[in-house]
Amino acid sequence: MKHSVPFLCFRALSRLSAVLVPCLVLTLMGYLFWRAFPVLGPKLLFGRVAPLDAVLGRVPVWDGLWPACVGTFWLVLITMLLAVFPGVGCGIYLSELASPRQKRCLGAAVDMLAGMPSIVMGLFGFMLILLLRRTVMPNANTGLLLAACCLALLVLPVLVASAREAMAAVPASLRLAAAAAGFSRSQALFHLLLPAAARGILGGVVLAVGRAAEDTAVILFTGVVANAGLPSGLFGKFEALSFDIYYISSQYQDQQELLRGFGAAAFLLLISCLLLAAARVLERGFRRKWQGKA
């Protein structure tokens, strides 16, 4: 069969694009790990401190990435604790229960939030602290909780959109079959539609975790510092991997320090991959329990 020239061009271009993406990913990761490889090891994490002492917090680590790892972990955890419930809940409400008018208003608000640059969220948090200092809390200061709150605001639209889309993707026939089987609307939602949409919702949560782990602009104004050690509490200053990478790459003094930046980047990537794998395992286990063996 003879194809027209535009069709052939289109096919060639789409093939090229399909090859381009994995090539870019491989180049990026390859370069990162190639540069980071010499420094990857316990010394990168703990510096001159014995690993056990560092992990237990007995000796502070000043020349390793350990405090930043712990900071990022707490930051992401608190962010997700704050954001998952309202985000997913709002998405489900938008898809299942909202009136058309509510859908328009809420949808516009979520879109606006999604379009907001992360630096604005950081500034907002900073201004909030200034306001608090001048009014009810003279001792208020930037810290882990404030950064997590601002990050939660940042990842909220991701969660809302993914939950909404996942619910909307549940086929109408399943809703009809559930109604015909005598389920009330909320029973159908809880026992059939939510589990059916769980995969999409979980996908959104993983995306949000990634976003929270990598964002630097928000935490820049809200409590991150280069040498805080382990976070002292919810209101204490903290270190974070993303900020470490940013800080090192803009302030490095020698080649060794730059390599530490590459190490931190490789580490962040590794943590993201681990999170992704954990989400996969979680999802598979859930699916087996809920849907039966494949």
Partner: protein, 271 residues
């Protein structure tokens, strides 16, 4: 051939259903005698499915639906007012749908295991205690003639069953809730001949204990199963047949065509 008692199982008076002001049923009058299988036949778009879904108020799950008229069910555990939804015998929709089982054209298994397909509606909609679930699931699967095929594989995903098995699973799910009447919307349309025959035999044996109202588009199948026939056209019931013995497929085809033509003539006169 069937004992037809005087009280009809389904009584429809002046029923009109529209979606977004587009009428689908207009002024339907129908009395379905109890006993045996009642079959609604007609060309596609004649309103068979909408009439069937009016019996368990399922049309209301579709946006833009408006229903007027009277639909009443006379079942072994008392009468139910379906429409209007107010009155002494009216029940909430969820309860109505538990008592009026339904199976769809394409098998609508839930995306869960075979066991949970039946157990979840039992536990959630009926509030069946956990200790009884195993027995009731097995009982339902036996009644739907599926037990032998899935015994020992109850934790398998239901979507892995064949089409015919899935449809029988849907039937088992409906039967598990102990309905007083069963609605079937072309239940064999998506099955091959062999699987369809198997479901038909099952329906005939079920109909001995339970009133069954079904939609069918095949004249041959309608004649095999029906003890009562209602021919629909353009959103109305044009004709009913209480005795199908001696009828041939040709007779039924002609009847459907006649309904078609008389409708066209009526519209011609109206114009």
């Amino acid at each position: 051939m069937n004992s037809i008692s005087s009280v009809p199982v389904l009584c429809v008076r002046d029923l009109s259903v529209s979606f977004f002001d587009r009428p689908v049923l207009s002024g339907v009058e129908l009395s379905v005698p109890s006993g045996g299988i009642a079959v609604l036949v007609g060309r596609s778009g004649s309103g068979k499915t909408t009439l069937l879904r009016a019996v368990n108020r399922l049309n209301e799950e579709v946006p833009g639906c408006r229903t007027e008229g009277t639909v009443k069910l006379h079942l072994r555990r008392g009468s139910l007012d379906v429409y209007p939804g107010t009155g002494p015998d009216a029940v909430p929709s969820a309860e109505l749908r538990r008592r009026v089982g339904m199976v769809f054209q394409t098998p609508q298994v839930f995306p869960v295991s075979v066991f949970r397909n039946i157990a979840v509606p039992l536990a959630v909609a009926l509030g069946c205690p956990r200790s009884e679930l195993d027995d009731r699931v097995r009982d339902a699967l036996m009644r739907a003639d599926l037990w032998k095929e899935v015994d020992g594989r109850l934790d398998m995903a239901a979507e892995r069953l064949s089409g015919g098995q899935q449809q029988r699973l849907c039937l088992a799910r409906a039967l598990a809730l102990e309905p007083d009447v069963l609605l079937l919307d072309e239940p064999t349309a998506s099955l091959d001949v062999h699987a369809a025959r198997r479901v038909e035999d099952l329906l005939l044996s079920l109909a001995e204990r339970l009133p069954v109202i079904m939609v069918s588009h095949g004249p041959a199948q309608s004649l095999r199963l029906a003890s009562f026939l209602a021919v629909m056209e353009e959103g109305r019931v044009r004709r009913t047949v209480s005795d199908t013995s001696g009828m041939t497929e040709g007779d039924l085809e002609r009847m459907i065509d006649d309904a078609d033509r008389s409708d066209g003539a009526a519209r011609g006169q109206g114009a």
